[in-house]
Amino acid sequence: MSHLRCENVTVCFGGVVACDNINLEVPEGKIIGLIGPNGAGKTTLFNVLNRFQEYETGHTYYREQNVDNKKPHEMIDLGMARTFQNLNLFSEQSTLDNILIGAHRLIGNAFANMFSLPGARRNEAALVDKAVAIADMLQLSGELDNPVKNLSYGYRKRVELARALAAEPEIILLDEPVAGCNEEATRELVDIVRHVNRNLGVTFLVVEHDMSMVMKVCDYIYVINFGANLADGTPAEVRADADVIAAYLGEATQ
């Protein structure tokens, strides 16, 4: 069944068409890739799916429920989390606090929470336990009390992912999760994504430039260029597609 789907979505910024009749479908439980040259409109599409971005035409569906009018914070309630390309962490706050905010939708009744009533306190303790467990899984345990601004880039990328996981989402949108990471960090992240996908059943939509990573981890890939669908298929199909090669490499290699 389709987990996330967008249909004929068009986004215009003044005269510029950022997304041109995009169609994309993410089936449940799969890892779907979204690739395309720089400026192709991938992050704009993410903002559309996350509901930060309005669109002129088209519709978006979450589990076949129309979400055109939803606000970003409502998408999390539905089960969709997202990471940011340029990392959008709370740099002065600690790793633990950053992860905990991801679990915001689980804090229960706001008044009970504010006054630290007994039930809310138990809930908070449980959330902290979960955050610690996620940090453990991503090997961030040592940095839980460190303000995020003190962490290296690789660590901060993991905190961003941890925050998404803290929401106990059904689907996660990853925006360039391994950008700027070395081979080892990339491998680790791929392992984590696979683990979360296979053992916890989380669907993934991944935007990436690292081709080997995308080809290795994705079940299906969408290619967009100049804001429009260019091709889609399994990694093998996409790799061999002439249009895709032309778009990425310019001229066909001799």
Binding site: A110, G142, G154
Partner: protein, 357 residues
């Protein structure tokens, strides 16, 4: 999705779980001890031999300012919103308590609460208009609100404009109280409110406020309903300042547009929050003390008081923008961080990571 916590990793008590949790609990106990000590000192203060009625009065004023500044700091320091109009909530609190006392004979404690509730109500309404806006617009909107409320109190007859409303002596549970009694009421209110703010800051709601302050996009992406939480912050902030306002009116048994009709309270409270440090729990204690004591020392030289406040404000912004409290807290925080680091051996982890990436 399955619960991440059920993964085998969570079951294993790591070094974090034991040493660090114990250390954090210790810090928490230290915080509590300091707070209790502080309030005990406040409570003992009137019993000291040299303390006279007017000193209790001045101390009450300081407590009131601290409370009002706490209201402001919840909004500016913790949620990242600007308000140059909180004097309006102070005034609303004062007038609500005054009118209730005049027409229904309400005593101090219900008057206080009523003042807070009314301020919160108006704050909520105001929030609906202004909280959608970007920071600069909101600042101007709240400033306009302060002027507006000032002119309402100046012109609408029931508030008796500049003549003001004189009130009967304050009573608690039917017993008339003097300066000392009023002081205790103020300290009690401050203690309860501080307790609440402490709980709020550490709660999930407090996290949501801080998240909105630090990165709205990330906060919304994580599920924080921006408008709802901003309004909540605004209302809570207005409530606290409203309670302070009620006490401010009742302490002199008098409210008038002469006192509440302009923006001086609004900017004074902003000064208190900024100078003290709006992102710390005890920041308003410093800021409130400063703003309350300046007119006390410079009663004759009011102009010099203005200049002093301006100079101190600018000095703080240039030298210690996070407030006086932050500067004082720095060595303690660094010391606690060092203890935490030792407890989990993070120093080595960062080094190792630096070599890899």
């Amino acid at each position: 999705m399955g619960d991440v916590a059920t993964s085998a990793v969570a079951a294993r008590p790591t070094r974090y779980n034991r040493a660090v949790t114990a250390l954090k609990a210790q810090f928490e106990r230290q915080n509590w001890a300091l707070a209790v000590l502080f309030f005990v000192v406040l409570l003992i203060f009137p019993a000291l031999p040299f303390v006279e009625g007017w000193m209790a009065y001045q101390a009450s004023l300081i407590v009131i300012y601290i409370m009002a500044a706490q209201g402001v700091s919840i909004l500016t320091g913790f949620t990242g919103l600007v308000t140059v109009g909180h004097g309006g909530f102070l005034a609303i609190g004062a007038y609500t308590a005054a009118l209730l006392m005049k027409y229904t004979g309400l005593s101090v404690i219900p008057g206080m609460i009523a003042g807070g509730v009314m301020a919160a109500f108006i704050g909520c309404l105001l929030g609906l208009i202004f909280l959608r806006l970007a920071g600069a617009f909101m600042a101007i909107g709240t400033l306009g609100f302060a002027f507006f409320i000032g002119s309402i109190f100046n012109n609408v007859p029931i508030f008796e404009g500049r003549t003001g409303i004189s009130l009967p002596p304050n009573t608690v549970f039917g017993v008339e109280i003097d300066d000392f009694g009023f002081y205790y009421v103020c300290v009690l209110a401050l203690a309860l409110i501080t307790l609440f703010v402490y709980s709020l800051i550490r709660s999930g709601v407090g996290r949501a406020f801080k998240a909105l302050r630090d990165s709205e996009k990330a906060a919304e992406s994580s599920g924080v309903n921006r408008l709802l939480y901003r309004t909540l912050a605004f209302s809570i902030s207005a409530f606290i300042t409203g309670v302070a306002g009620a006490l401010n009116g009742l302490i002199v048994n008098y409210v008038s547009a002469e006192v509440y009709g302009d923006i001086w309270y609004s900017v004074d409270l902003l000064v208190a929050a900024v100078v003290g440090g709006s992102a710390l729990l005890f920041g308003p204690f410093f800021g409130g003390f400063f703003v309350a004591m300046v007119p006390f020392y410079f009663e004759e030289l009011r102009d010099f008081a203005f200049i002093l406040k301006g100079v101190v404000l600018i000095a703080v912004l240039v030298l210690a923008p996070a407030g006086v409290a932050e500067v004082i807290a720095r060595p303690f925080r660094a010391w606690r961080r060092r203890l935490l680091d030792k407890a989990r051996g993070s120093a080595q982890t960062v080094e190792a990571e630096g070599a890899r990436s």
